[in-house]
Amino acid sequence: MNFSPAIEDLIQALRCLPGVGPKSAQRMTLHLLERDRAGADNLAAALLDAVNKVDHCQRCRNFTELDICEICIDPRRDTSIICVVETPADVLAVEMSGSFKGIYYVLMGHLSPIDGIGPEEIGLDRFHRRVVEEGVSEVILATNPTVEGEATAYYLIDLLQGDGVKVSRIAHGVPLGGELEYVDGSTLAHALTGRRQVE
């Protein structure tokens, strides 16, 4: 038996979501049509609304409905300190910590040559120009402690060298509440390399 064309279309459409295979897409579709028509209406409207309104901030590339996002135009933020992150979710994570008062630059990815993503694809040279033109005083590299995140950080360190900008890399290591015994060796090695002297 085949579902009607409209149902099939919805199942196919849902498969664009990460981790959604044919079975899950079918389950979601039947759920929306059978048990949650109002939810389906909402989802359709919200999806359309977001796609129409959300774009990249012209300064930090984060998602925003404005030309320049709320963080970038906030007069209380220190625009001379830029924190470089990989994704919008990372901005949210740093914001939650409440300890950063500068602004961000969102790469929307990381260097991954095997996937065809080089410095140009994530706009590293454009970021460099901006740092120089705007006289930024400090750049904090908060890319992930993966090989790709590290490579991105090293590339930026090299790029920014000699521009009189203070460059730092966030420390990676043992999570708060983590037990050493359960921390894997590579994380521990990272934590040891990035150790700080106790004052």
């Binding site: 410095p119 590339y155 090299d158 983590g178 359960y182």
Partner: protein
């Protein structure tokens, strides 16, 4: 098929489903393989379950499965992770890109595995000669793929390469003697350098020759798509 504690390196990984990854690995005895690491992106007490499933960490992996794609059953570190930074990290990424582009799945390359592990270990040393390591690996890779060529002999005639001769490279024959010394020609290689390379020298004395020759030889097999890792080196 059930394999236990196989020495391996992750070459590349991509997210799969909600919390899993598909790993592209190079193993000691089974060559390049695709492994599904289920739940490896889920966090675990005090760390992430998949934190060691990263490139450049010597691993022991156990896997099973009958299909083309195997399932990772267990993994542990075989020795300490390498501390690669800057150009040494970019070089290691270049090796991975070359292998992902040129190696087929399920072709065993035990010699290449050892060469790769040795090269990574050498790159771990901050004072190492990067280009010498890369060129030696490139040559080993070509040989392992069946695209090797003699460095001390002409491919067609089999005649020995001479110190003052000039040679060109042909994908089918290997080195070919050029009639006249052509210093300005980009694809001409001096015999004296080739003889040094044949004796195992890939470093400073033959730097330019080795780089041009191996790039030319690799280009035959890489096709039109550029090697993206080369963009990472800004000043070399």
């Amino acid at each position: 098929m059930r394999v236990k504690l196989q020495p391996a390196f992750v070459l590349h990984s991509r997210p799969y489903r909600d919390s899993s990854q598909i790993l592209d690995v190079l193993t000691a005895e089974y060559g390049r393989l695709a492994l599904v690491a289920k739940g490896s992106r889920r966090s675990r007490r005090g760390g992430s379950a998949g934190a060691i499933l990263q490139p450049f960490i010597p691993l022991l992996v156990s896997f099973s499965g009958r299909s083309e794609m195997k399932t990772l059953v267990a993994s542990e570190m075989a020795s300490n992770p390498l501390a690669l930074g800057g150009d040494r990290l970019f070089s290691a990424m270049y090796l991975n890109e070359l292998m992902v582009r040129l190696l087929h799945h399920h072709d065993p390359h035990p010699v290449l595995f050892v060469a790769y592990a040795d090269t990574l270990r050498a790159l771990n040393d901050e004072g190492c000669q990067l280009h010498a390591q890369l060129r030696r690996f490139e040559f080993t890779l070509l040989c392992e793929l069946g695209f090797g060529f003699e460095l001390a002999q002409e491919g067609g005639s089999g005649e020995a390469v001479t110190d003052d001769g000039w040679y060109g490279f042909d994908a089918d024959y290997g080195l070919v003697h050029l009639g006249s010394p052509s210093n300005g020609q980009r694809a001409a290689f001096p015999g004296s350098d080739l003889k040094l390379m044949a004796a195992g020298e890939f470093g400073e004395p033959v730097k330019s020759t080795a780089k041009r020759l191996l790039r030319l030889a690799l280009a035959q097999h890489l096709g039109d798509k550029p090697i993206k890792s080369r963009d990472l080196f800004r000043r070399t």
